[in-house]
Symmetry: C2
Subunit: 357 residues, 2 copies
């Protein structure tokens, strides 16, 4: 009997916010930034492998990360790795996976997940995903997983739910709010964080593409017809070259009227910044997050240090700093300035430092 449940892992990001630890040649999803012993993508695969059979995984990634994906997930066959010629945000990524899956199994039920999130309570998380799968199988529903917010975070999108049930129709999506609005959301109690984890029937999402992103529907229907033919590579190339870069949230979820959210609490974080890594790392008595044991800290507080293996650091007199050392790049930066990392990268690039990016 065919298992209709599929898991699509989106793994195309370059994670520049974790530079210099993340690199164009090895972005965040392939790293173990939290020192858990496994990369983010490996954790993601193992998390869903208890629900979805190995052969029903698809990973969508940039072409240049294909070998890295197969290295981290040796259980997969090359046919399970879909390669984007270029990143075009989540809608084209999901379209590529959905139209491919539909050809393989028109009855497919599809989980979509980022490759690089942290989930602490995996059992609870899987119970919720199972509920979503059941609901999506029984309804023409686009399901998203919402997270009960614990603080007025301005780095996440918010979803307003219309009822207090576990599965509720979505009232509206809100992009990253300012602090005041985030505080209002938190107090109001009707808002949850948008985790970017989705569940739906392939049939439902393709209907939504046809309705809300007809241009993408056209291009990826072409991709679907070309799958397995000599033209496949060229048509994929064309689809990504032609299609508009747009997120699935903005392109479909905010517009469709069959969007449902299943709220949960299971220790979730998108681990999007060093600040977030700091939050999720064990601290010493001075509030320093030092995943490695090879730091000698003096008069240093509330800082995070990341070092290459077999390297030691002696650090004196730093308060609230990020210190990230790699083989060819050293970064020392106040935690409050981590949003400048993209500027640093640009400056290094501009000075012919491409090899350090």
């Amino acid at each position: 009997m065919t298992d209709n449940k599929y898991c699509v892992i989106m793994a195309g990001g370059i994670g520049s916010r974790f530079w210099p630890k993340s690199r164009q040649s090895r972005p965040k999803q392939f790293l173990d930034i939290l020192g858990t012993g496994k990369s983010f993508i490996r954790h993601t695969y193992e998390r869903f492998a208890k629900i979805v059979p190995t052969e029903n995984f698809l990973v969508v990634t940039n072409r240049k990360y294909r070998d890295l994906v197969l290295e981290h997930l040796p259980e997969l066959t090359p046919e399970q790795v879909l390669c984007e010629p270029v990143g075009r945000n989540t809608a084209p990524c999901i379209a590529y996976a959905a139209y491919t899956l539909q050809k393989r199994n028109p009855d497919a039920e599809m989980i979509v997940t980022p490759a690089d999130h942290l989930i602490l309570n995996e059992e609870d998380f899987r119970a919720i995903i199972r509920e979503c799968l059941e609901f999506a199988a029984a309804h023409d529903a686009l399901m998203t997983v919402g997270i009960k917010p614990t603080r007025p975070d301005t780095g996440y999108g918010y979803i307003q739910v219309s009822a207090a049930q576990p599965i509720s129709k979505v009232k509206c999506f809100t992009e990253k709010p300012d602090l005041e609005l985030a505080q209002t959301f938190l107090q109001c109690g009707e808002f949850v964080w948008n985790s970017g984890i989705f569940v739906w029937k392939v049939k439902s999402i393709i209907e939504a593409f046809a309705k809300y992103l007809p241009e993408h529907h056209l291009l990826f229907s072409g991709v679907q017809r070309a799958l397995g033919t000599d033209a496949e590579q060229n048509i994929v190339e064309l689809a990504f070259a032609e299609c508009r870069a747009i997120s699935i949230d903005y392109g479909i979820m905010e517009k469709a009227d069959n969007v449902y959210v299943r709220c949960g609490e299971f220790g979730w974080s998108d681990v999007g910044t060093w600040g977030s890594v700091y939050e999720h790392t064990a601290k010493d008595e001075h509030g320093n997050a030092i995943p490695e044991k090879n730091c000698y800290l003096y008069d240093t507080r509330l800082s995070i240090v990341s070092l290459p293996k077999d390297k030691i650091a002696v650090i004196s007199g730093l308060k609230e700093y990020i210190v990230v050392d790699t083989d060819d790049v050293l970064l020392i930066c106040p935690r409050a300035d981590e949003q400048n990392i993209k500027k640093f990268i640009d400056d290094v690039k501009y000075n012919n430092g491409e090899k350090h990016i």
Copy 2:
């Protein structure tokens, strides 16, 4: 015709103050901390090679640095490198060289110099050394080179001169003074810094050893007799095991009555600390000393950065810091705390970090 002029380079130090750039396996004298393109010992050799023929150099160093010396000074033969089994301060080091030289040439005139000093105006310096050689050849004199002080430095020893002539008899030696005393010395005008560079006839210094350090005289006379015999190695071992560790200043120069100083100004520094490296390195417009071109500094002032080749650093928000990165150790430390480096080293050692020292 035999040239009686010899140059003894003292190169036994481990330079722990420059850790982690200096290491037990590669101490300061073998480094190019100032980014000049040559190691300190190489500069020292070339400085004196215009006065002294190559075959008249001796280097005294620790046994473990023998190959490094020959690597940096390939002009020398292995017989020109005297190996101390263990460091015992400058008096035994100089005795080993003097008693060895006396056997090779009883009329030897001897320049003694540390391997790791900076001298900016080498022409003026050599003119002074030539004067010293002439004076020492004509008199039974223990000559030392004094530096006209430019600031009340508490890191140097001071010598009080008895007259305003270029070559003057020494009135007294003073160990590193406190700031108040150093200021008095500077105002008084009679005091010069003790550079630790000496000139004398071998005959004169050996007479001084016999008189002021008879124990060392006995041990190194034994070494002299054993030179070239099968017993040489054992006797050297014994002499260093038995002899008291003592500086030539304390053991002889402060006691002898035939000590003369030749004062000069030639841009001298013993480059003893990172602070001193900071002083002698070109600065950017924010007062940062960055010998390498591969630093991206933001909101960073009055700091010094040292990186391995081909590495870049992005540093934000540091004021008056030392950042020294090497392959296996990263040091970040306020400039004001550089005297703590020895403590850092001890802590690393204590935690089984011997390989990082």
